[in-house]
Symmetry: C2
Subunit: 238 residues, 2 copies
DNA sequence: TCGCCGTTTTGAACATGTTCAGAATCTAGC
DNA sequence: GCTAGATTCTGAACATGTTCAAAACGGCGA
């Protein structure tokens, strides 16, 4: 399917229309009929390209995720064309993490009205739109890659943490998103504060993890993370 | 409304019918029409008692929450009638916490098929069925009370942690539930393991928090928890 | 140009969540 | 016992997500 150029155009028109309506009017008021009508096609045609409304939400999810990744790459100076780098990219974990988490708040901001549904839809396990499902592995991988880069470029992360820390930070991102959805403070100030203080705490804990006394608990935490991480990959096999 | 005894009976019949159907057939196949039909009343009548399908899911949420609280109370020996206590209730945080978290996996088990929707519905901020919303404060408070009791009866929790630790453990419960929803291992073995190892990690961290070196990061974590905790109470004011 | 076949599009139809005007039933006061 | 008013219940109607049989379109070989 989607062979011809016209088909691709129709699909893209539907996609952008849906995203605009989601952004401006929220989830419920964005009717499949309305999306189709505003795109100038029939209702059935929308379903030809997007099998369900959830799939349109999934497009939104991917868009926002991509925006976040782009924003972080820019600010970490990871973009290939580093022509203009007004300030050098930070190398401390705390700074890099704060930057990544706060960037997510910024990237998500235009879609705060649909945030709820975004999360609600994203959380459904069966749905192929869930970030935990096997079929959306690319999106999930991309999301985790952000934090892999955060850790990779930090000079103050001990070697034995480098492999699993990104996963842990990704869970933090999940929690931050959950908080953000419920955050009604102006400018999402509380979410930004949570991101900032969260980064500080993580950095301190990582620093502490170097000490011999912390060795035991560190190992335990890593084991726990690995246990949790194998969930999605193993659970969805059916 | 719901003045007469017959009305109360109808309401209860609808409630139990819905819960049974949710448990046996899942969310989607439990139609409002079907609930009404199997309860022997008209569709409209179901809406007289439960304004939306989400409200029926909310009943399920409350039921499961109550089951969890009851189970934990039994095993911690907190029940008023402590006539038969085969073994003394544990006083170590690790044991109490493991018990509480693992009990949640047990209590949720019958409803694993609807787990997804349970979480999905529970997470919606606007909805009065959300555990974060002001209107379901009782359920949320009850849920947190479980962990307040876990901490209260533990002999190995330093004083400066006692106030905020329950909140933190409640977040852990949230995470565990999220994991459980996606857990397809037989007997939910992975979730039980996560609960067990999680309890171990928490206990070790708490032990570590006594040391002077950990003072700084401990304070930061507590600040973070308080920041996160004020979310629900403040955000829902509108 | 014509006809074939895969691709794209249509609009009616269906099931479900939800609303609502009114019918049925019950209770209280006489 | 009887009526007025509140409570409880009904079933049709509506909007929306989704499906599907069939129409329209488009390119390609004869």
């Amino acid at each position: 399917m989607f062979k011809t150029a016209k088909a691709e155009a129709t699909r893209e028109l539907l996609r952008s229309t849906a995203l605009r309506l989601f952004r401006d009017d929220g989830y419920e008021r964005t009717t499949m009929r309305r999306v189709a009508a505003e795109a100038g096609v029939s209702t059935g045609n929308a379903y030809y390209y997007f099998p369900s409304k959830d799939d349109l939400v999934h497009e939104l999810y991917r868009e926002v995720q991509a925006d976040h990744a782009r924003l972080v790459a820019e600010r970490l100076g990871t973009t290939p064309d580093a022509v203009d780098s007004p300030r050098p990219s930070p190398t401390r974990l705390e700074d890099r993490l704060r930057l990544a988490w706060q960037a997510s708040v910024e990237a998500f901001e235009p879609y705060h009205v649909v945030g709820t549904e975004l999360v609600s839809v994203a959380i459904r396990p069966g749905a192929r739109t869930s970030p935990f499902s096997a079929e959306s592995t690319p999106a999930r991988t991309a999301s985790r890659a952000v934090f892999a880069e955060v850790v990779a470029g930090a000079h103050d992360v001990p070697p034995h943490l480098r492999a699993d820390l990104p996963e842990l930070l990704w869970y933090g991102q999940l929690g931050l998103t959950l908080f953000w959805v419920h955050d009604t403070s102006p400018g999402r100030r509380r979410s930004l504060a949570l991101a900032s203080h969260g980064a500080q705490v993580v950095a301190r804990l990582v620093r502490l993890a170097r000490l011999p006394i912390a060795r035991g608990v560190t190992d335990d935490v890593l084991r726990l993370v690995r246990l949790a991480a194998s969930d999605a990959t193993e659970g969805s096999g059916s």
